[in-house]
Amino acid sequence: MSAIRYLPAMGKALRDEMAADPTVFVVGEDVRASLRGVTKGLFEEFGPERVLDMPISEQMFTGFATGAALAGRRCVVEYQIPSLLYLAFEQIANQAQKLRLMTGGQAAVPVVYLVPGSGARLGLAAQHSDHPYSLFAHAGVKTVLPSTPADAYGLMVSAIRDDDPVLYLAPAAVLPVRGELPERPEAVPIGSARIHREGTDVTVVAAGHLVHEALAVADELADEVSVEVFDPRTLYPFDWELLAASLARTRRLVAFDDANRTCGLAAEVVATAAEELPLVARPRRVTRADAPIAFAVELERAVLPSREQLAAAVRAAASEGGS
């Protein structure tokens, strides 16, 4: 066991997989120099045939990964900004994701779409602050959003080894987080959630950096409400079984989500719970407003989901449905 930050943990997983499997390679902008820090040292270790700097042409290099995959390789595509996924949306959601079905099972497209630094980063304004995972979940794209260095490592390994396209979002706010990483860290299966803190009154569903916010709120409220913090880790496919088990205990739900409210992940969690799972209190959402992030930090904070809003929602949920 040794303490490591989230960003280098991702990098270590990528490095270990590249060392283990010669078909794995990385493409993106400034990946040689590792502007975003994930690919640090990889060019020096693996050379120009494994670490490819791309011209600014996201649509092309996303489809490039698909072609390389059809030719037998495994590609990790790094995007410097979450909104660059929009430029590649057709190539991801309409090409790579659909190829297996369209070819009747002939094609496998093992590609990882990696955004190191998704979501808001104070002061980056409207075009650099989106957290677009709900769009990809809607399209059925496997999507992971790790919250700890161990999960960042383990889900990177699984994403690379997976035979389907996988979107890997690492929230900007969680990159500096420290955590333990065993000598021989393990893969974390895609589709498996994790309960970070057990509780009996209210289940808070939170992913990525919001897991840490939720844990802080759970501490604050500790002598009022017993909060269970549920981290899906994979947003699609979602681990409904574990959520059902959690709600069987708490029967109260608050979905804490860094995406826009309408048709976001929290909507899916609340909708599924309302339709299929046991609840004694109204499910609640604490999400972003459906608004772009303004530059001024006061305005940015005002549209992001907050601890205060979560605490209020948890208290309100706890006050319903007896005990």
Partner: protein, 321 residues
């Protein structure tokens, strides 16, 4: 490939497409199909220059490319009829028909979307040092899609073994090339310092010669080539066009191009008896292929969620269990 084989393959495409139109009109094929009739010399000339392990990316007008690259006629018809013995198990249909084992990365419903696939495959071949080549087909309309330029830039920058084949049939649906494309099509390649040729797309031997030069250059590490093949589609944009009154081409223009029918041209170069023999043999092959397709079962609706994920995961259904 001999002139006889070139003719046979072109004739196969021609008659395949004519049979497809019949099947669409008979409502045996659902959706729309985009016929390749008139452009046969391009697919056949280009694919005749390829090895079995070279790859191609095709377009919405893909039947000809698949046949030229060696796809099985019975399994193609079965795919178009939506049957389980189709190349794509009935999941793809005309716009997505593919045969990865033959290096056919699929027809594509989105114009120029296959170009980056070809770039990725070509790069992969170049680092393997395998000498394999990738070809991407696209139309004159596709020439203006940005992603094609992104792929041309990369192919030239990295000297990839990639051949860009533009099938300039003069129109993107109803839009004539003069109203879609500034400058000339071949000049697009010059911008990237890429070798380029304009080819008579109605003459299979001319196409084969140019394609052979391009493919040899690619195999030898000489990088990409851009081929503009001047051709024409004899039919409407798709089978649904006959139900629409679109008047973007004159009968004259169509007539003038039909006089240069590539299948007739190369057929005329053969001994009439040889040609007649090929033609009759072909009809029975096509009869057999259609019979194979018709007897193939329709997919079971219970399997609708299969083949979505390679990992075997099933997608969520539309109603709670």
């Amino acid at each position: 490939m001999s002139v006889v084989d070139l003719y046979r393959t072109m004739r196969t495409i021609r008659r395949f497409e004519e049979r497809v139109v019949d099947l669409v009109n008979a409502n045996e094929i659902a959706g729309v199909t985009h016929e390749y009739v008139g452009q046969e010399a391009v697919a056949v000339g280009v694919c005749a220059a390829l090895h079995a392990d070279d790859v191609i990316t095709s377009t919405h007008r893909g039947h000809g490319h698949l046949i030229a690259k060696g796809a099985d006629l019975g399994r193609m018809f079965a795919e178009l009829l939506g049957r389980v013995d189709g190349l794509n198990r009935g999941r793809g249909g005309s716009m997505h028909v593919a045969d990865l084992a033959l290096g056919i990365y699929g027809a594509n419903g989105i114009v120029a979307a296959g170009a980056p696939f070809a770039a990725g495959a070509a790069w992969s071949f170049s680092v393997d040092g395998s000498g394999r080549v990738a070809v991407t087909f696209f139309g004159d309309g596709g020439v203006n899609q940005g992603v094609l330029h992104e792929a041309m830039n990369l192919a030239a920058l990295w000297t990839l073994p990639l051949v860009f084949v533009c099938e300039n049939n003069g129109y993107a649906v109803t839009l004539p090339q003069e109203r879609s494309t500034a400058g000339s099509v071949v000049d697009r390649a010059a911008a990237y310092g890429m070798a380029a040729e304009q080819v008579d797309g109605m003459d299979v031997e001319a196409v084969l010669d140019a394609a052979t030069r391009a493919v040899e250059r690619a195999r030898a590490g000489g990088g990409p080539t851009f081929l503009e093949c001047r051709t024409y589609r004899f039919f409407g944009h798709h089978t649904a066009e006959r139900t629409m009154k679109l008047s973007y081409r004159t009968d004259d223009e169509i007539e003038r191009w039909r006089e240069r029918d590539p299948v007739a041209t190369s057929g005329a170069r053969l001994d009439p008896d040889v040609r007649a023999a090929i033609d009759t043999e072909l009809e029975s092959l096509l009869d057999a292929a259609i019979a194979f397709a018709r007897q193939s079962p329709r997919p079971d609706p219970a399997d609708a969620l299969e083949f979505v994920y390679a990992s075997g995961a099933l997608p969520r259904r539309g109603v709670a269990r």
